[in-house]
């Protein structure tokens, strides 16, 4: 069977992902391009004895990128050694913006790549009376043209047939202007590139990442000798192409004489209204958060019960002792602590994908731009900040659509302040322990405090964005040029696939960390070299001779923990965290939850069960009963509880976020600044709160 690599390329908002989902169905996977975190969607299918490997490239308006995800398109298409370099490109456009899609198509053909052309969303065109002269378009493009409506599946079979088409006889439509031919000639001689248009692209692209240093130097030389500015070259090309496209495409699209008012325009009259637009958006936000908390309730209860049952049956079945504690309190409780957030994360991503699919997300960007700009952010930062309420990892990745470097960097740096779902288990447990369950003005006090924690996250994000804006300089002017596509009914299949990918990624990533941390903690807590650990029984006997048998057991257990490797680590950092109101056991929780915040609760469970002999108590009961040996007060009292809440609100306690920020910013400096700023700020806030409240 022959195997062919094809790439889907197209302008944003043309339904490219829907075509991709139609072609590949569930046989697709989401990964990353090597070295960068831009999401890579690949899939495959077999048609007429040929196996097609499809890659869905990010949406782009042209071959000259304006944002990070658009860079991928050029990198993959220009570099024949790139593992994703396709043998056939499928360029997808929509009937109302054929010109723009042909613009991109011609650039791709002139790079020497074979391509076919798809006009998607034909149903929408037919409804508005627009039709396309296919044979005329095929003549202009010298290739096969397929009309599809991926939402209903129309034309997908014809598209599959058309993939066997071998396009040839293409005549370039952009002729390199004479004043530049000397420069392109130089490039061809000195970089070994034979295609003249690619030589032109070398000169007109801001970056050519696939070239080696010598080649890049030759390009710089050529630019200097001929006095070229890459931006000017891009504009020259864009204007020349549009001028010739105007003639080439005459008569290809037939519009009805009578213009009807589009439904989108009527909807936008309200949805982007200077007053109602905001009212609707904030009402929607309220609905989303309401849904996250109320709709998820029954599912979370069910999951909670299932894991409690699992833990107790495992606890009964396994022999008592530390391994029992590891499995029931560490692993099962830890994994349960992640699984329980699946309903909330899934609901949030359902809303976010619905907003993206329907076209409303672009309106959010439009509405929020003015209000985020004073903080050094762009309207496009609204999407990462909102997703940050679920998980900072996909949120930081979604910042890649922000064109301006400074706005993108600030967005990445402040998004982790948003209250992600991993903070919830800590908030809920601590609030349950230290905030009285009372009603204030008819509102649940614990609920109000939780809401306050969310508000605090937003204030911290915007406040630090404002500070960063004052400190940073930008090389590039910030701009917003945003397409607001027509509203569409979301494709259920696209939404479900997206929710599935995001939720799976979160659970899998966090689950692995929890499992590893639980085992490491257990090992560190069960072994030690100190005399008081190896010889705990004798030490206790000699120090407290008259002790009763049960007290003796407890005393031995807690002394063993205190002098195990784990206890030594906790006691090592105790001087630093004592002013915040924490003891050495909580110090262990802080250390282990550096990997991920949600680990704190399961760590405390492991620590307290290692130190005690009673296996009957739940995590919360254990925490409530725990006494801080330094103060003699409950370990989780009002002052230390508020201090803990503030610490987790601000501290960068998430290794996955640190890793993703490092990848996305490509800078250890900014990653370190973010880590130091967040954790330093958290320490001071927790310190001040404890010292004032104790």
């Amino acid at each position: 069977m022959t195997e062919i690599k094809i790439a889907l390329v197209g302008n944003p908002n043309v339904g490219k992902s829907t075509v991709f989902n139609r072609l590949t169905g569930l046989r697709q996977k989401v990964g990353n391009y090597p070295g960068i975190t831009v999401e890579k969607k690949t899939g495959s299918f077999t048609h007429q004895q040929t196996r097609y490997h499809v890659i869905d490239l990010p949406g782009a308006y042209g071959i000259h990128p304006s944002s990070l995800d658009e860079e991928i398109v050029y990198d993959v298409l220009v570099d024949q050694t790139n593992p994703n370099h396709p043998e056939l490109v499928v360029v997808i456009g929509d009937p109302f913006n054929i010109k723009r899609a042909v613009f991109l198509y011609q650039q791709i053909r002139e790079m020497g790549l074979p391509a076919i052309f798809v006009v998607n969303m034909m149903d929408e065109a037919e409804r508005s009376g627009t039709s396309i002269d296919v044979s005329k378009l095929e003549n202009v493009l010298s290739t096969k043209v397929v009309l599809t409506d991926a939402r209903s599946g129309k034309g997908i079979d014809q598209l599959k047939d058309a993939l066997a088409f071998k396009p040839n006889g293409y005549a370039p439509s952009f002729v390199i202007p004479e004043e530049f031919t000397a420069a392109t000639q130089y490039i061809r001689e000195h970089t070994g590139q034979r295609n003249e248009y690619i030589a032109w692209l070398y000169l007109s692209q801001k970056q050519n990442k696939h070239l080696n240093n010598n080649q890049v130097e030759e390009i710089t030389t050529a630019r200097q000798t001929h006095g070229l500015n890459y931006h000017r070259l891009q504009i020259r090309e864009a204007l020349a192409r549009h001028a010739s496209l105007e003639n080439q495409l005459t008569g290809v699209i037939k519009d009805p004489a009578k213009k009807k008012q589009y439904a989108t325009e009527r909807a936008d009259h309200v949805l982007t209204h200077p007053v109602w637009g905001y009212v609707i958006f904030f009402a929607l936000l309220l609905l989303i958060f309401q849904a996250i908390y109320t709709w998820s309730g029954p599912f979370m209860d069910a999951i909670d019960n299932a894991f409690a049952w699992l833990a107790s049956s495992a606890g009964e079945w396994l022999p008592a002792g530390p391994i029992n504690g590891l499995i029931t309190d560490g692993i099962i409780a830890g994994i349960g602590g992640i699984v329980i957030f699946i309903p909330q994360i899934a609901i949030l991503f359902i809303f976010i994908s619905l907003m993206e699919e329907s076209g409303y997300m672009s309106r959010v960007v439009y509405l929020m731009d003015r209000w985020l700009r004073p903080f050094g952010l762009s309207g496009k930062s609204a999407v990462p900040l909102m997703s940050g309420a679920a998980c900072a990892i996909p949120a930081v990745m979604s910042a890649r659509t922000i064109e301006n470097d400074k706005e993108r960097l600030i967005t990445i740096l402040v998004t982790p302040f948003m209250t992600c779902s991993a903070r919830l288990p800590i908030y809920i447990v601590i609030i349950g322990l230290v905030i009285p369950s009372e009603k204030i003005l008819g509102l649940d006090l614990q609920g109000l405090v939780l809401f306050g924690m969310y508000a605090l996250g937003i204030v911290a994000a915007l406040g630090s964005a404002w500070v960063l804006k004052q400190l940073m300089k930008s090389k590039y002017k910030s701009y917003l040029i945003l397409e607001l596509p027509t509203y569409k009914y979301p494709v259920v299949r696209n939404v479900l696939l997206n929710v599935w990918d995001k939720t799976k990624g979160f659970v899998w990533g966090a689950g692995k960390i929890i499992l590893a941390i639980s085992i490491i903690l257990w090992v560190l807590g069960s072994f030690g070299v100190d005399e008081r650990f190896t010889n705990a029984e004798d030490v206790v006997r000699s120090e407290k001779p008259g002790i009763s048998e049960t007290d003796f057991e407890n005393e031995v257990q807690s002394q063993k923990l205190e002098y195990s490797f784990l206890g030594t680590m906790g006691r090592f950092i105790e001087p630093v965290i004592e002013p915040l109101g924490y003891d050495w056991k909580m110090g262990i929780g802080l250390i282990s939850s550096f990997a991920a915040r949600e680990v704190f609760v399961s760590t405390m469970a492991t620590v307290y069960s290692l130190g005690g002999t009673d296996d009957e108590l739940t995590i919360r009961e254990r925490m409530a009963a725990e006494i801080n040996p330094n103060t003699g007060k409950p370990a989780y009292n009002f002052a230390s509880g508020i201090s803990l809440l503030l610490f987790y609100a601000f501290a960068m306690q998430c290794m996955s976020t640190i890793a993703i920020v490092r990848k996305e910013t490509n800078s250890w400096k900014w990653t370190f600044i973010q880590l130091a700023f967040m954790t330093g700020f958290a320490y001071i806030a927790a310190l001040v709160a404890y010292q004032l409240l104790k």
């Binding site: 504009i235 549009h242 519009d255 917003l480 040029i481 397409e483």
Partner: protein, 80 residues
Amino acid sequence: MSQHKSINQLQNGETATIVGYLSDEIPIKIYEMGLLPGVTLTKKQQLPFNGPVYLRIQDNPNAIALRKSEADLILIESIL
């Protein structure tokens, strides 16, 4: 070109044709999105406090939003 108005000077509901740009240093995206000389557009609305403008391009169901700073760079001639 100085006698030409920019998109910013349009009233809501006013239609105009693009005639040029105030500077060379405008983002390539403006060209790629089709905001080219000869294109007819209508300003539909603007958000408060000098927020972005909402434009409709003739014969195109998709709308385009621009910040005031970009709208300043695109010169137009009103159609009466």
